[in-house]
Subunit: 265 residues, 2 copies
């Protein structure tokens, strides 16, 4: 583990008592001892030096000191790594089956996406519109666990958020509200003047919000493509084979992050 | 399925009889009827129009006509897609646990890597040097099945090959034999003058052989890095979080394929 993601209830206090599973995890799994430090991160992405002050049965007490710079704390796994800047990426992922969705969320979090939104489109295999609130709640809880694990393991300083509602494709552009360019990935060229990723991204400052919409296994329908284009989404052809949905998202994120971070900013 | 990968025994004959599982797959799973066509591809990557001539119990007979161009055949899933050119990529993947290895091989094949080589390095968790030939054989057979499925599903025109032996890291450069640049991915900058992917790739023609070496979960040791640099491998920092091995390979392949295919060639 490269960092410990603090509970949502933590609001920057000087100390924190962890109980039950959370305490077990630090003491039994990571085998931290009294006096040892670990990097903590709260839900807003702020970094803390956590020190194990006291270990008791079923609980442990930590002191929490906010850090100005991430680099100075000694963690259980003190590998050096890239420290930013990161592009500001939102993944709009059309619904897939559960296991694939888990894999996409895990890998997108590792790579450092800011937000993930699940999208209902025409060819999505799971239709969640008739699911009970409880079933949907379980689905989001499962995805939140994937995010937390991936943040802890990858040391990502971006606190990836899953948007708590599924958005129909037709309401995406209202939700996105022109925060920055929105791209959607399609397996053939939509028109002659279609731009490459490099052309679309070359003039953008690194912190520009960018949305990536990735289709379901069956792709987008012709009406959906036209709707998206009318709403200002840019069609992008990935110059590769036809990818499964769980590969397409990671492919697009990797390509865009590399282009954005390697530019002279 | 977007194409059918022909058996290794096929050598360009005008007709072919499939038996057992292979026949079942076309007739029962894909539900092809007599007279229908499907795109076939042999081990060397040549494309054929296959026509179902005769369906019998437990077997079927196909006629095979070699195609000059891929585009003209009607397949069961006739989605248009990118038709090349593809960069010439070799993935050198340090050994991971079985399930991760399956995922890496599947996704790398989808993306269109030419060759995958398994590498034994210091921090690999599975040490296969003491495994029986039979256990190793099973491992390679399992990976070959992953490749075949991914080729059929993605329609990749590159017939991805798994090199049939595990190569120790120290013998990689002899095996690669300077066919083109070899890159290895490391989580911190190795030196001040280290180049970005764009800088390393900008002058290369699209068909230049490029090798990508991806480490195991524990990364490379300092000695291994020095050894690789002395052997002419270029260290590359991926400007992202610390990725798990199964994400790192796909990340690097996606970034490199995008850079190579979007350049003005």
């Amino acid at each position: 583990m490269r960092q410990y993601i603090l509970p949502r209830t933590f609001k920057g206090e000087d100390s924190l008592v962890l109980r039950g599973k959370e305490s077990q995890y630090l003491i039994k799994v990571l085998r931290l001892k009294e006096g040892q430090h670990i990097l903590g991160r709260d839900q807003a992405g702020r970094a803390y030096q956590l020190t194990i002050e006291k270990i008791a049965k079923q609980e442990c007490r930590l002191s929490c000191m906010e850090l100005k710079e991430d680099a100075s704390v000694q963690t259980t796994d003190a590998l050096p790594s890239y420290a930013g800047p990161y592009p500001n990426l939102t993944l709009m992922q059309c619904l897939c089956k559960g296991k694939k969705e888990d894999q996409i969320v895990r890998q997108a979090t590792e790579i450092g996406v800011r937000e993930i939104v699940l999208v209902q489109s025409r060819y999505c295999v799971p239709d969640l519109s008739s699911k009970s609130e409880k079933a949907l709640g379980n689905r989001f809880e499962r995805l939140d666990r994937q995010v937390k694990e991936a943040l802890q393991q990858s040391g990502s300083p971006l606190s990836t958020e899953i948007h708590p509602e599924i958005i129909p494709l037709t309401e995406l552009s209202k939700w996105w509200n022109n925060r920055g360019p929105a791209l959607f990935f399609h397996q053939s060229n939509r028109n002659e003047s279609q731009k490459t990723l490099h052309e679309l991204l070359e003039a953008l400052p690194i912190d520009t919000p960018i949305a990536l919409l990735v289709g379901p296994e069956g792709g987008f329908s012709e009406e959906e493509c036209i709707f998206l284009e009318d709403a200002g989404f840019h069609p992008v052809l990935l110059r590769t084979n036809i990818l499964r949905s769980e590969t397409a998202g990671i492919y697009a994120l990797s390509a865009i992050q590399t282009i954005m971070t390697e530019k002279k900013n």
